[in-house]
Amino acid sequence: MRRLAAVGLFFALCIAAWHLVVAAGIWSPVLVPAPRDVGLYLYGALIDGTLRSATLVTIQRLLIGYFLGLLGGLPLGMLTAKSEVMRDTLGLLALGLQTLPSICWVPLALLWFGQTEMAMQFVVIMGTIWSVQLATASGMRSVPPIYVQAARTMGSRGLHTWLRVILPASFPFIVTGMKQGWAFAWRSLMAAEIYVTILTGFGLGHLLHYGRELNAMDQVIGIIIVIIVIGLLADKILFSPVEKFLHARWGTGR
């Protein structure tokens, strides 16, 4: 309860400071809108449904792209950890592709898929898959060999060792990779949505983009806030429970 009060107080103070800065009239309200104007925009967008539909479009793209990325990245990572050869080939390829900012995939995606949902998801997948693969691979490799030795003396072999020892032992690393993948997916999607207009759905990135086109600073800042809130919620809802579980079991983390 105290913590919740502290959080509320902190953000109330932030908004108050923002309000005071605007009220001081140093900058033009066109460039720095008052918190009230941003609130009014968000309220209006909520009432007329644009915010809801844009959020749904964005989250749907994000989830589909992210899970497809996981579906590819996790097995690829396990494969990469298998041997030195895999590490030097698949691993190196993934490292190269991971360093490529995923917005660079947009021109390619547009030529391949046109202005379709598929183009959007392709960019998200490319943003997710490599970091998940690399994190999974490094997690599997960092399993202490003594765990495997202990398991072998108890009669564990092959697939059993793999499923009951290596996989659970690398779980904390895999979660880190999944979290990193999520962050990359979110960034790639926002970049893609701002950059490309796709007629099958207007996401939050488009609202941001049109806010700029219309010189509507209240919209730009309002949407930025929405994007931040979604990122925070995803962290708290998707990853916090898993991290708490890991903390309790492994005694690691915070």
Binding site: I146, T153, M154, G155, W250
Partner: protein, 271 residues
């Protein structure tokens, strides 16, 4: 005292037969073990391998465990050559090597799950019996990181004993513990051994520890790892590591070892 069956010369419980091991290092091959022969009969309860670091004692234990392969020679258990690790030879490592994703009880159950022909109920009974024996029944649901170093090694001991191995291999299991915890474990261990007689091979660099725990002590010397001398300790049990007898034996063995090393050095240096 276990009776020695002198009439029928049964195969020894454990026979290490002319085992050699070479490691490849950057500066060429290093002989870790040279021509090791070690016989442990059923009656010999606890055999200690004692030596300074580099004498290959842990390597020898890994070879007996089947985790490493020797360059030459073989290891026989009850007359049968070993092929890889086996449930009849359980290992207790220097670090507990317990699985952090399982609680204490599930760690003990891990090996039992892999033992064929044991029912769910039997597994549970056995696991709880051994946790009780090491005095950690209260902590059966505890996560591994919540346990102290000494408690972890107790769980590891329960885990190693649960599948009922005929040989228990212990690789400096108390080296990372503080002195007080260690002394408590010496007496607990002797009590557990009294209840469940096992053939134990115990690796340590601590001569006193070896005398406190061992029935026979094999002194190893480094580069290349060799067994120099064997001693039989007949002090009554339970033994106290701080007792005068243990201290006196330790001094004698250390002196003998020093003389031996000096003899080797002066004997081989002119070559």
């Amino acid at each position: 005292m276990t009776p020695q069956t002198a009439s029928a010369p049964a195969a020894p419980r454990l026979l290490v037969d002319k085992v050699s091991k070479v490691f490849q290092s950057k500066s060429g091959p290093v002989k870790a073990l040279e021509d090791i022969t070690l016989e442990v009969t059923e009656g010999e309860h606890v055999s200690c391998l004692v030596g300074p670091s580099g004498s290959g004692k842990s390597t020898l234990l890994s070879i007996i465990a089947g985790l490493e392969k020797p360059e030459s020679g073989r290891v026989l258990v009850d007359g049968e050559p070993i092929r890889g690790p086996g449930r009849e030879r359980m290992v207790m490592f220097q670090e507990s090597a317990l699985f952090p994703w399982l609680n204490a009880l599930d760690n003990v159950l891990f090996g039992l799950h892999l033992k064929p022909g044991v029912t769910r109920r039997q597994r549970r009974e056995v696991a709880e019996y051994y946790l009780e024996m090491v005095g950690l029944m209260r902590f059966k649901r505890a996560h591994i990181h919540e346990l102290s170093g000494g408690m972890k090694q107790r769980v590891a001991l329960a885990r190693a004993l649960a599948p009922n191995p005929s040989i228990l291999l212990m690789d400096e299991p108390f080296a990372a513990l503080d002195a007080m915890t260690r002394e408590q474990l010496y007496s607990d261990l002797q009590e557990i051994w009294r209840k469940r007689r096992k053939t134990v091979v115990f690796v340590t660099h601590n001569v006193r520890e070896a005398i406190c725990l061992g029935d026979s002590i094999h002194i190893m010397s480094p580069s290349p790892g060799r067994i120099e001398e064997a001693f039989h300790i007949t002090l009554p049990r339970p033994r106290d590591i701080n007792s005068v007898e243990v201290a006196r034996h330790a001094t004698e063995i250390k002196d003998a070892f020093k003389r031996r090393m000096q003899a080797i050095q002066s004997g081989t240096s002119p070559s």
